[in-house]
């Protein structure tokens, strides 16, 4: 037997009430002034109080009424074999679909065979699964099943989403609807000569189309042309400006405002003081940017053909990272953190092709480039879906608040029957007392 509301059993202390009332009522004898005691015989009341129950049957019935009522409030549920088999026969099914035209009728064919069924439709399968699990958790005792009916493309569902489903809930996949023909998604922002533009990528089968649109938030006058501060001698400034102009014409990723960089062009007669104090602590985005610069093929190829220029061998020790080497295998480009910005030093001459390639590489490195792989329209392999699938497990112990019917009605019926019996007993006792009283009065008269 299972008690659906076991806290109510605490009310069993109420059983003590009729007994206590009986005992307390016996403990205090009422004092009654009486004309004469000559016709009364003394009695040992203490022993009487201890052993005498005036009407044990009536007391037992009253206690039984309290017990039955309390037990009924506690919600008894007798889990018989037949009841358990009936629970196991029925299925509560939640179907998760996506709000897409091709899957609008998904799962409807299962609805008729289920004891209870409900469809959860949303923008993402993860959200639908979360809501379906909450609903299944409140469902009455039955085999619980989660059906995911969707095109099931990579990225629409993950192992983490399946892990959210309780172990006793069966999981089944139905690949419904066609894969989308093409998908267009926002793909970051690009800095051009006339400002920042938003880029959109359309994936259509094997083809990928990139389209730039005017920025929703145009660049303001406060925005620098590039988030890079170039430190160079006045004689090298025209070459630096030309390099920046060339980079902007070619377009580069627009870095976030928080990501800043400083490019120092070293010369034999010029040594900027800020380079001498790099920060020991490296931000993650800085490390990522240094790694990207190191892997920049164009920069590496251009550096390998360049002469060594100014000696920057003093920047080959930590906290400096070597980014590129010259033709004679000497350090040509090095990078380090300096406060909240990335500092890149190079000994390459300003007239070398390394300069514009380095400027472009730095801007792209500190920018956040979206990953396009999850956007690809590829179905989840069938083997993976099979591994995630599992049958429903029959419920072992029903949840108290999900059982739709219990056995309390039988106890309420018993309580009412006992109330009737108690009433009948009281009346019969009263009738007997009045009959005895009348008989005695007649005898006395």
């Amino acid at each position: 037997m299972v008690w659906l509301h076991p806290v109510a059993l605490l009310a069993l202390v109420a059983v003590a009430a009729p007994i206590l009332i009986h005992i307390l009522a016996q403990r205090r004898a009422e004092v009654v002034p009486f004309p004469t005691l000559r016709f009364l015989r003394p009695m040992a009341l203490v022993s009487l109080r201890r052993h005498l129950l005036e009407d044990p049957l009536l007391l037992a019935v009253r206690i039984a009424i309290v017990v039955a009522a309390v037990a009924a409030m506690a919600g008894p549920l007798i889990v018989t074999r037949a009841r358990r088999e009936a629970w196991n026969r029925r299925i509560v099914r939640a179907t998760v679909t996506m709000a897409a035209p091709g899957v609008s009728r998904a799962g409807s064919r299962d609805r008729d065979s289920a004891f209870q069924a409900r469809e959860f439709r949303g923008a993402s399968l993860a959200d639908g699964i979360r809501r379906a699990v909450e609903w299944l958790d409140m469902a009455p005792p039955a085999q619980r099943e989660l059906v995911i009916a969707a095109p099931l493309t990579i990225g629409s569902l993950s192992a983490a989403d399946i892990a959210e489903v309780p172990r006793d809930v069966g999981v089944r996949f139905e690949r419904v609807g066609a894969l989308a023909g093409e998908r267009s998604v926002a793909y970051g922002s690009v800095r051009a000569a006339d400002g920042i533009v938003d880029r959109e990528v359309t994936i259509a089968g094997a083809r990928t189309l990139v389209r730039d649109r005017p920025a929703t938030a145009p660049a303001t006058a406060a925005d620098p042309a590039l988030p890079i501060e170039v430190v160079a001698t006045p004689s090298a400034r025209p070459l630096v400006d030309a390099a920046i102009s060339a980079v902007l014409r070619e377009r580069v990723w627009a870095p976030p405002r928080a990501h800043g960089a400083e490019l120092v062009l070293l010369s034999t007669d010029y040594a900027p003081p800020r380079v001498t104090a790099p920060a020991a602590r490296l931000e993650p985005w800085m490390a990522d940017a240094i790694a990207r610069l190191t892997r920049d093929n164009a920069l590496n190829q251009a550096s390998a053909q360049a002469s060594s220029g100014v000696d920057v061998s003093r920047f080959s020790q930590p906290p400096w990272f070597t980014v590129a080497r010259s033709r004679d295998n000497r350090v040509l480009v090095a990078a380090a953190a300096s406060g909240d910005r990335l500092v890149v030093v190079t000994g390459a001459p300003p007239s070398d092709v390394v300069l514009p390639i380095l400027v472009r590489g730095i801007v792209n490195a500190i920018a956040v480039v979206p990953d396009i792989v999850p956007l690809e329209i590829v179905p989840i392999p069938g083997a993976q879906l099979t591994a995630w699938s599992r049958p429903a497990i029959p419920p072992e112990q029903p949840r108290a608040d999900s059982v739709e019917s219990d056995d309390r009605r039988w106890l309420w019926i018993a309580a009412i029957a006992l109330l009737v019996a108690e009433s009948w007993l009281r009346r019969s006792r009263r009738r007997d007392a009045s009959a005895a009283h009348a008989e005695e009065a007649a005898r006395v008269a």
Partner: protein, 291 residues
């Protein structure tokens, strides 16, 4: 003008004017009692009665004795000068039920007042003997008022010297008269019975009104009760449910013993229960007396 229905005891007990209460009771008596139910020794012949020692020999019917060899005394309907003395029990045991307005004592006072009223209305003499009150029997309206005032001023409490009171009443009654005792007769039975018998031997007609409550007869309590004696204060713990049968047997035996002895010795005995209307009790008493 007789009232249609008897006045309830609790209503009567609530009437402060005892004369009014007595008049209500008397007017409630059914008609047909115009002639005195109290037999005296005066002019109009009423009936024969077997001779009892102490009877005046001048009332012996000698002719009847000659014819039947039996001694009978002639009784006459007394039209005037019947001397009646009313004795009221003022013991604490009469103050029951304590919480009720109709105590045995209040009921006894009303009955006594009604009897005095009836006697006085017929031109007879009525008196009162209680603990500290001694009012010799006299007739007249003014005496009736004094008598009712004395009855109304009586208070119950303590122990009642019943034997002495009855003796005093019998002695002060002088010539043969009517002695009415209103009590619960819880006193010592034997001395009281002897005293009553002595009064009879003095030639008095003795009438007993035994006043009890219904609760005293039936003991209706169900739980454990600590009964406290109204006179002595002694307490007795009793489980009423268990003790009821024995109690009822004992009190029924007591009542029957009292009644049987009274009848055997020629005393009129009337048991009245306080939930009975006083008119009914007096009516049955007076009718029985006329028979």
């Amino acid at each position: 003008m007789p009232s249609a229905t008897p006045c309830p005891p609790d209503v009567l007990a609530g009437i402060a004017d005892l004369e009014l209460a007595a008049r209500i009771v008397v007017e409630g008596l059914v008609s047909g009692l115009h002639r005195s139910p109290f037999h005296g020794y005066s002019a109009e012949f009423s009936q024969y009665r077997r001779y009892r020692p102490g009877d005046d020999l001048k009332y012996v019917d000698w002719k009847l004795l000659a014819r039947t060899d039996r001694v009978y005394t002639k009784q006459f309907r007394e039209t005037t000068n019947l001397a009646a003395s009313i004795v009221i029990d003022t013991s604490a045991s009469m103050e029951f039920p304590a919480a009720s307005e109709v105590t045995k004592f209040r009921y006894a006072v009303i009955v006594a007042a009604a009897l005095a009223y009836v006697i006085a209305e017929q031109g007879d003499a009525a008196g009162l003997v209680a603990r500290d009150v001694l009012l010799p029997p006299r007739s007249g309206r003014q005496h009736l008022r004094r008598l009712l005032a004395s009855i109304g001023s009586l208070r119950s409490g303590g122990v009642w010297p019943g034997v002495e009171t009855v003796r005093r009443a019998a002695d002060r009654l002088g010539r043969r008269g009517l002695l009415i005792i209103i009590s619960d007769f819880y006193d010592d039975e034997e001395p009281m019975a002897s005293e009553l018998h002595r009064a009879q031997r003095m030639g008095h007609d003795v009438v007993q009104f035994q006043v009890l409550t219904r609760d005293e007869i039936t003991l209706p309590y169900t739980r454990e009760i600590e009964f406290a004696d109204l006179e002595s204060g002694v307490r007795l713990p009793v489980n009423a449910a268990l003790a009821r049968r024995d109690y009822r047997d004992a009190i029924a035996e007591f009542l029957e013993r009292t009644r049987a002895r009274a009848l055997a010795e020629g005393r009129q005995h009337t048991l009245v229960v306080t939930d009975t209307a006083p008119e009914r009790a007096l009516r049955s008493f007076l009718l029985a007396r006329r028979a």
